[in-house]
């Protein structure tokens, strides 16, 4: 490494003669390149190919020619009622779990953010659903919790004087939402816990000394401090939930009220439709929705990162 002082690091410095073949800035970049190239190759290239496919008419099984059809697939997308249903389901399977998991996760985090007997055990139990294989989550909820005859949920409903419900077949959307809430509440809890624990205690103490009621403190100080963490939780949760596949595959295998857009893309392509051109056009819609969400997510992250730099 050079021991001379450079005026500004990171700017592209024109190569100098008589020194090592690599300029300092390129030497800095070198360790980054393998990871960067790998990421571009595995994410950006397939995405560009998907965009290209989406302008073609291409049936893969039985193998057919790939013909350029311009925007035809996107026009088809507006006519396809099943696609409209999939969008509605996608929104339901994203919005409701995110909100419910955030509310529950915040409540759990508040409960955990104090000292009490066995707090470690309680936290361990609460994070466990997030560690389970998502396929297992879908299968055990379907077969042991929601089961029409032997399900635990129905057992409780019967004890409370209700009639048993065939959850998965009668209420597929609700059933999947419940499993998603169960899976994602720990994630929200961890983010909110990180937020609560980063809260400066001197402000809270000062408010207490001034005689503020605990609830007022929570509403006026804690909630405003937690806001960026909530935003982050909502956005990260939404980005993952918009592409849920596992629970749908093992609980209902698709169908009205449970086929979201990614699942629909799968059904129209590898799952048996084999229309790769059309399916690609549908997948681009998910990408656009994700880009919108991600733009906001990155803004929130950036703000938190700047806060870190300032601290």
């Amino acid at each position: 490494m050079s021991t001379t002082l450079r005026p500004r690091v990171g700017r592209v410095i024109p190569p100098r003669t008589g020194r090592s073949p690599l300029s300092d800035s390129w030497r800095r970049r070198l360790p980054l390149l393998p990871a960067l190239l790998f990421a571009i190759l595995l994410t950006q290239v397939p995405f560009v190919l998907s965009v290209y496919y989406s302008f073609t008419d291409w049936t893969v099984v039985p193998p057919g020619p790939r013909e350029f059809v311009g925007l035809d697939n996107y026009r088809e997308l507006f006519r396809d009622e099943a696609f409209g249903d999939a969008i509605v389901t996608s929104i339901q399977l994203t919005v409701f779990p995110v909100i419910a998991a955030l509310v529950l996760g915040t409540a759990f985090a508040v409960l955990l953010d104090r000292k009490f007997f066995g707090r470690g055990v309680v936290r361990t139990m609460l994070i466990t659903p997030f560690l389970l294989v998502p396929v297992v989550i879908g299968l055990i909820w379907k077969n042991q919790m929601f089961h029409g005859l032997y399900g635990v949920v129905n057992w409780v409903i019967e004890r409370l004087g209700g009639t048993p419900v065939e959850f998965v077949s009668e209420h597929p959307t609700l059933s999947i939402i419940i499993t998603l809430v169960w899976q994602w509440t720990p994630f929200m809890m961890l983010i909110m816990l990180a937020g609560l624990q980063s809260q400066p205690s001197d402000v809270i103490e000062a408010a207490k000394v001034d005689g503020a009621a605990p609830f007022a403190i929570f509403r006026q100080l804690t909630l405003s401090h937690l806001r960026p963490y909530m935003e982050l939780g909502i956005l990260l949760g939404a980005i993952y939930l918009i592409q849920v596949y596992d629970q749908i595959a093992v609980m209902t295998g698709g169908g009205p009220g449970s086929t979201n857009v990614p699942y629909y893309v799968f059904q129209r392509s590898i799952g048996g439709g084999w229309q790769f051109g059309l399916a690609s056009a549908y997948s681009i819609v998910v990408v656009i929705a994700s880009i919108i969400l991600a733009t906001f997510a990155l803004r929130v992250l950036s703000r938190l990162l700047k806060g870190e730099a300032a601290a």
């Binding site: 496919y53 104090r114 042991q144 983010i191 990180a194």
Partner: protein
């Protein structure tokens, strides 16, 4: 468990504390119940599992024996486990080999616009899987990689790389600058700095990162079932083969589920505190 109580509560406050602690316990027990029930069912006979929920029964290990010894479908437990272990470990090692130098270039000797690069990495994580699965499937078919471990190794590396870069950067930033400068004055190049200073200090952070990569790779199902539906497949795919359309299967499915979840759950329990940071993606402390 937290032993010492920092703020000695008095009178009314103490009862509130007790009440909230109790509420936390009840909440946790209810929330944890499906996991408890799954473990319980795995020790039942099918007859005991497929009836009105009951707590008392003759516990048996037979379901575990059944699911590990006989192959329900084309995939046996042993094969799936081997596939999962190889795929998860190799992909995690590749992730670390790529991400550690990258994190160095973003945290310790930052390249210009390191913030933009960091955001590029994390934005690839936001690209939905459906956006790339079709070209990847086509490519894997052309290269005869369907049903091979290699295709999942490469894809799981791609899944975990952004998160690993992001997390490792946040751990590397915290390494005292003087230590690295001292190593530099001693003439240590990148490799020397890494082995003598950075890796020892950041070891716990690297371990947490590796663990998170292992968790995500172990639990992944979509790529596994799309690209490796048959013999090259992993434990989550094997779990689904224990669902049968004929006859009762809940106890067997529970045993299979417990086996599939145990490695990751144990690892997660042990490393939960560090994971809290990891999941907050290093941006939050």
């Amino acid at each position: 468990m937290s032993g010492d109580d920092a703020t000695p509560a008095v009178g009314e406050r103490r009862w509130v504390n007790w009440g909230l602690g109790g509420l936390a316990w009840i909440t946790a027990l209810v929330f944890f119940f499906p996991v408890f029930w799954m473990v319980l069912n795995s020790f039942k006979s099918e007859q005991d599992a497929n009836t009105s929920p009951k707590l008392t029964f003759d516990p048996t290990f037979d379901r575990y024996r059944e699911v590990t010894e006989t192959a329900g479908g084309l995939l046996s437990f042993g094969e799936a486990l081997m596939n999962s272990v190889v795929i998860v470990l190799v992909s995690t090692l590749i992730v670390l080999a790529l991400a550690i130098p990258a994190a160095y270039a973003l945290a310790i000797k930052p390249v210009g616009k390191w913030r933009d690069v960091l955001f590029f990495f994390i934005s690839t994580k936001f690209l939905p899987v459906v956006a790339s699965i079709l070209p990847i499937w086509i490519l894997a078919r052309e290269l005869n990689l369907l049903n091979t471990r290699l295709v999942l190794i490469v894809l799981y590396t791609a899944i975990n790389l952004p998160l690993a870069v992001w997390m490792l950067r946040s751990f590397f930033v915290e390494i005292p600058r003087e230590l690295i400068e001292a190593a530099e004055i001693d003439g240590a190049r990148l490799r020397g700095q890494l082995t003598s200073v950075i890796l020892p200090i950041a070891a716990p952070g690297i371990a947490a990162t590796a663990l998170l990569c292992v968790i995500f790779a172990w639990n992944e199902f979509f790529y596994a079932v799309q690209l490796n539906p048959v013999e090259g497949s992993t434990v989550p795919v094997w779990v689904t083969t224990n669902v049968s359309t004929r006859g009762e299967f809940l106890a067997k499915l529970s045993a299979a589920s417990v086996l599939a979840c145990i490695p990751v759950v144990l690892a997660g329990w042990i490393a939960q505190k560090r994971m809290i940071r990891g999941l907050a993606m290093g941006a939050i402390k």
